[in-house]
Each structure stands twice: as C-alpha cells, then as structure tokens.
C-alpha cells in the first residue's frame, strides 16, 4: 500500500500542475510587466515543487502516525459513508429544492436527510427536528430577517 505522504503529494501535484498549465492560457508577460498569467504560473510551479518535496523527503511525524494507524480505505468508507452521503445529499437537496420548491421544502429536506446521517437519529426524530427547524426558518429568516427567499415557489 502506498504511504500517506504519496497521497498528499499527489493531491498537491495535481492542483499545482493544473494551475500552472491553465495559467499558460493567459498572457504571462515579463518580470517588469507581468501579465495576468504570471502570478498563478508562479504559484502553480511552486506548489508542484512543494509536492515533489513532500514525496521525496522522509515522512513527518503526523504522516508516520497516519501510516501506523492506517486502516484500509474500504473500511473507512463503509463506516463513514452514511454521514458523508447524508451531509452532501442534504446540501444538494437544499440547492435543488431551493430552486424549484422554495425555502420550506429545501430546509425540510436538508435537515431530514442530514439528520439521518447519524444512525442514532430515528426517522421520527429526524422528522421532528426538520419540522422544528422549518418553523424556526420561517419565523427567524423569512419574517425576522426578511430573507429574499420565497417560502414556496412553482406550486
């Protein structure tokens, strides 16, 4: 299995290389007359070099520690997939329903889905929490702070 530091380095190399390549689309210019591409090119190249440095130098304390208590990626996924999916799913539901349904359904879906991420939250508890937060949203944000977000749209 690859060491922790190689994953870290690869991640940064990806960002650095993409930045450097993308900044070549803009006018780079010279040191005394820099174009819009100069600074990002500099950043991308530096970050790529840093990534190489992370990979070739010995592991730091936290990386050594991460290597030591390493568990297979699949096990981490199996344990954490539920809260991750609930959080991301809830946010996506908020965006979609916010666009096509309004504040009330968006908030309800967000809270309900997100709450199900913790196995200790029952469906009933999640429904109750969602109803409570929706009531709070209507009172505090719609009427209290006059948020420009229709309660219901497209119905």
């Amino acid at each position: 299995m690859l060491k922790h530091k190689y994953y870290s380095a690869g991640f940064m190399l990806l960002i650095g290389a993409v930045t450097a390549l993308a900044s070549l689309d803009y006018n780079v210019g010279t040191l005394d007359r820099m174009g819009p591409g100069y600074f990002p090119l500099m950043l991308g190249v530096t970050l790529s070099l840093l990534a190489v440095l992370i990979a070739v130098t010995p592991s730091s304390a936290d990386e050594a520690e991460a290597d030591a208590r390493r568990e297979p990626l699949r096990a981490v996924f199996r344990r954490r997939i539920r809260p991750w999916a609930a959080t991301v799913g809830g946010m996506v539901a908020f965006i979609v329903l916010g666009n096509y349904g309004g504040l009330v359904p968006a908030t309800f879906a967000l809270i309900f889905l997100a709450a199900l991420g913790d196995p200790k939250n029952s469906i009933k508890a999640s429904l109750l929490l969602a109803t409570g937060v929706v009531a709070f949203a209507i009172l505090a944000f719609h009427y209290g702070l006059q948020l420009q977000f229709p309660l219901f749209t497209g119905w």
């Binding site: 991640f11 992370i54 809260p83 939250n121 948020l147």
Partner: protein, 504 residues
C-alpha cells in the same frame, strides 16, 4: 491619548454599538459552547448578518463574537474535554480533571477571570504599541508589504500544528483560489471556467463556511459523542465561586500568561495557540509541585487562558495597523473590513479613529459583559451541553446554507460552499490544514498586487526585495524559517509530542 480614549468610550458606549457588541458576545458565547464549532465557524456563519450594519458596529459585533466563542470554547473544553480550537487544547489537560473532581464551575470561573485579566493586559499593549507601529508602517512600500506578507504567511503555516511543508502547501492552495476572478490590472477573468458567478471570485463567506463549517460536519457527524456531561448534578451560583485564596494564588500564573500572550500575539503566525502552550510549559516549570499538572492544577487553566486571551487582543495590532493578519480569525476580520470598504493599514487609525478606539474600549466592555453574564449562565451552558451533536449538526448545515444564500441571494454560492467543504475535508484528512488556506486566500490578491507593483517600480529587479533594509530583514527571517523547515524535515522524524494540538 486621553482624547482618543474619550472618543473610544463615546463610540463603544453609544446605545447602538453597545447592543451590537452585546449581541456578538451572547451569540458567540452560545455558539462557542456547542461542541464541534470553533471561533472560525461561528464568525463565518454570522459574517453575512453584519453586512447590513455600519462598519464600526460590524467590527464590534465580530470582535464580540470572537472572544465570546473563545470563552464558550473554554467552557466546553473544561466540562466536556472537547477542544473546539487548538488554543483550547491545553485548557482541557487540567480543566477536565478539575471538572471530574466536581470543581468544573470553579475552573470555568477561573478561566473567565484569567481571560479578563489577560484581555486587560492586551488592551494596555494595544494602546501603546499601535501608534508606534503606525509610524513604522509609513515607511512601507509595496516591496515591504510583499515581504511582510510572505513572512506572515510562512510563520502562520509553519508554526501551527502539523507538518510545516504541508502548511506551506495549504497557503499556496489558498493563494491559487484567491486568483480566481477578474484580474484588476488587465480585466481578464482568470480560472472562471466560463461561469459568470465566478468572475467576482469565490466569496469569502462561502470559502470560510465551507472550510470550517461543512468540513467540521463531515469530520464529526456520527463521530462525536452524545454530549454526556461529566459533572452530574446542579452547578449553581455557589459552585462557581473559587475557594479562599485561589485567586491570589492564581495571580502570578495569570501575570506570566498575559505577558507571554501579549508579546506572541503581536508576532504574525504565533498567536494564541503557541502562547497557551508556552504558558502551560512555564507554569509547570515554575510550580513547586509540577506533578499536580495534568491532574487538575488550577494554574494549568488560568495561565494558558490568560495567555490565549491576551494574544487574541494583541493580534489585532498588526491586523489593524499594517493590514497583515496573524492567523485565520484575524484574516476573517480583515476580510470583513474590506467588505465594508475599509482598508486596514496605517491610515485606519487616522481615518477611522472612532472605530479603532471604540474597538479597544469595547474589548474591555465586552469581556466585562461576558464575565457578568456567565456567572448566572454557567448553569444554562451545562444544560446546553447535554444536547447531543447529532441534533446540532443538521441545524448547523441549515445555518450555513441560509447564511451563504443571504449574502447574494444566490443558490450558486451554496454549491460553492458544498464543493469547498468536500475539498477541505479531503485536504484535511491528507494533513493539509484549512486555516493557512484561508489566510492565503485573503492575502493572495493583496500579495499579487504588491508583488506586481514592486517589480514594476524596480523595472523587474528581483534583488530589490533584499536591498531595502526593512523588506530585506523580512526576507532574511523568511529564509531563516525556510531553512528551519528544511532542517526539521530532513532530520529523522521523532514521535509526536504528547500535547499535540488537534487542529488549528
């Protein structure tokens, strides 16, 4: 000086500003007590609320939020052993054993009292040093600003927890994200991917909430305990009062802590975390009974808390007078000021004296409010802490979504928050901390601006950064820091020290 102080009192005591500061303190305290939410998440969540206020009110409210959260975080650290921020990791070490012994209320009171004295000390330093720093700041040209920002970013990324090399990489990623948007010099939209919303760049609020709100939820959901309290039973007003002579015994620790915090707070990058760790180490050395430390020594709570609070105040000095934030919280404050079209820097004290001196007085006032408020409220916080995290985090997600939406009335930003949050979580699990990233993002555009201007003035001579005395010495410190990082990295790795901070 006296005129300025009177102006400060007038500003801070105006009914409007008083209520903003009060609201900030109370909200901050309330949010800070909740486990899993630190000062950064709280400030970024409430940043949109301050858009409608006048700049002074907004700054007073944000500052109130800051020390309110910091104080609430200390309460949670002591009672639940859950440090919301790295600077509170130390307070857990002795505060939590005290809570287990049933002295939780007293420990919280002591932390509060030490905090207040630390703040007073910090305010004193700020009063005398800020005008001096302003004089120095007038010697600054673009090359000095660039060199100082470089030094500050490097210090902030290498001195905090985790691997320094990764800290620098985080800063670089932040700088790259800061490039997104329209280039001010040429008008070219960079890295906008053809999306019109990205031409204005990524919104500060979206980035901060994604990095500190969503990332925290992704890391903690279904992972944090059920908020089981360690001190059962009622914590009345009487349980709060410290024993006879406790305060007198704590005074030397508070004094030393304040001094360490005050000095470290001014330096960029050092800040509260380092100050509280250092104060703890010094108290342990100075104590005649060092074996009590880690098992509930009151000095282990009061010293670091005083250091932390004192540093929190003096950290405002470089932020406001030079426009160089020392840590991520200060960077957010800087961002908030820029949203209100106020450029922090040497001109700030001259152009907005009411804001500067008002802020100074309101630090003092706000912390006084905190202390008075918390004596009756400790019981309420204890109850609040029994709310399990599984009910808190969905609400936090909602507040993030609505908060980001409200800044532009735009669901696109909610998507940005989600994207940044997922990105931040992946980065954090690979050891790249979000705090340096945020600093890079905020300082990035300013750095590019000064870098380009400096090289335009010198006709492309890069050696000019080393020629001028001030920028040359900043560069020398920068190179020294890089050399230290290189040396540490190449040496054989040692096991992590016991007091390793959870996150910065």
């Amino acid at each position: 000086m006296l005129d300025n102080l009177i102006l400060g009192f007038e500003t801070a005591f105006s009914l409007q500003n008083l209520s903003y500061a009060f609201a900030g303190v109370v909200l901050g305290n309330l949010i800070g007590v909740l486990p899993g939410i630190g000062a950064l998440a709280a400030i970024s969540m409430l940043l949109p609320v301050t858009y409608g206020l006048d700049p002074t009110g907004a700054l007073l409210m944000l500052a109130g939020l800051y020390y309110g959260t910091s104080f609430g975080g200390a309460t949670t650290s002591i009672l639940l052993n859950l440090p919301g921020t790295a600077s509170h990791a130390v307070v857990c070490v002795d505060g939590n054993p005290l809570a287990r012994q049933g002295k939780g209320g007293q420990a919280v009171f002591m932390a509060m009292f030490a905090s207040f004295l630390g703040v007073c000390f910090g305010i004193g330093l700020m009063m005398f040093f800020s005008p001096m720093l302003v004089d120095v700041a007038f010697l600054f040209g673009p090359s000095e600003y660039f060199a100082l920002m470089l030094m500050g970013l490097l210090a902030a990324s290498t001195l905090t927890s985790g691997s320094p090399l990764k800290g620098i990489a985080s800063v670089m990623v932040g700088l790259i994200i800061g490039v997104i948007g329209t280039d001010v010099n040429s008008g070219v939209a960079r890295f906008a991917l053809g999306i019109p919303e990205l031409q204005d760049g990524i919104a500060l609020v979206a980035l901060a909430m994604g990095l500190f709100g969503i990332t925290d939820v992704l890391a903690n959901a279904a992972n944090l305990g059920d908020g089981t309290l360690l001190t059962k039973g009622k914590l009345g007003r009487h349980a709060v009062r410290p024993g006879k002579g406790e305060i007198r015994k704590a005074m030397p620790a508070i004094g030393r802590g304040s001094a360490i915090g005050g000095v470290l707070g001014i330096l960029p990058g050092a800040g509260g975390t380092m100050a509280s760790f250092m104060s703890y180490a010094i108290e342990k050395k100075a104590s005649r009974t060092p074996e009590r430390f880690g098992r509930g020594a009151m000095e282990g709570v009061s010293g670091p808390e005083a250091a932390n609070s004192s540093a929190a105040i003096t950290a405002f000095i470089p932020t406001l007078t030079l426009g160089i934030p020392g840590d991520a919280v200060m960077a957010l404050m800087l961002g908030a000021l820029m949203i209100h079209n106020i450029t922090p820097g040497p001109q700030l004290m001259v152009e907005h004296p009411a804001m500067f001196w008002g802020l100074l007085i309101s630090f003092w006032l706000g912390n006084l409010m905190l202390m008075v408020l918390n004596i009756p409220l400790i019981g309420v916080w204890v109850k609040l802490l029994s709310v399990p995290y599984r009910l808190i985090y969905p609400t936090v997600l909602f507040l993030i979504a609505v908060g980001v939406y409200s800044t532009n009335n735009n669901l696109f930003d909610v998507g940005v928050v989600l994207f940044i949050g997922v990105f931040g979580y992946i980065a954090a699990s690979l050891g790249f901390q979000p705090a340096p990233l945020l600093m890079g993002f905020i300082l990035g555009p300013m750095m590019e601006e000064n870098f380009r201007r400096a090289l335009l003035l010198s006709r492309g001579d890069i050696l000019m950064f080393f020629d001028r005395p001030l920028s040359g010495s900043f560069m020398a410190v920068t190179i020294l820091m890089l050399a230290t990082v290189a040396y540490k990295r190449l040496r054989r790795p040692r096991p992590a020290p016991q007091l390793s901070a959870t996150r910065s």
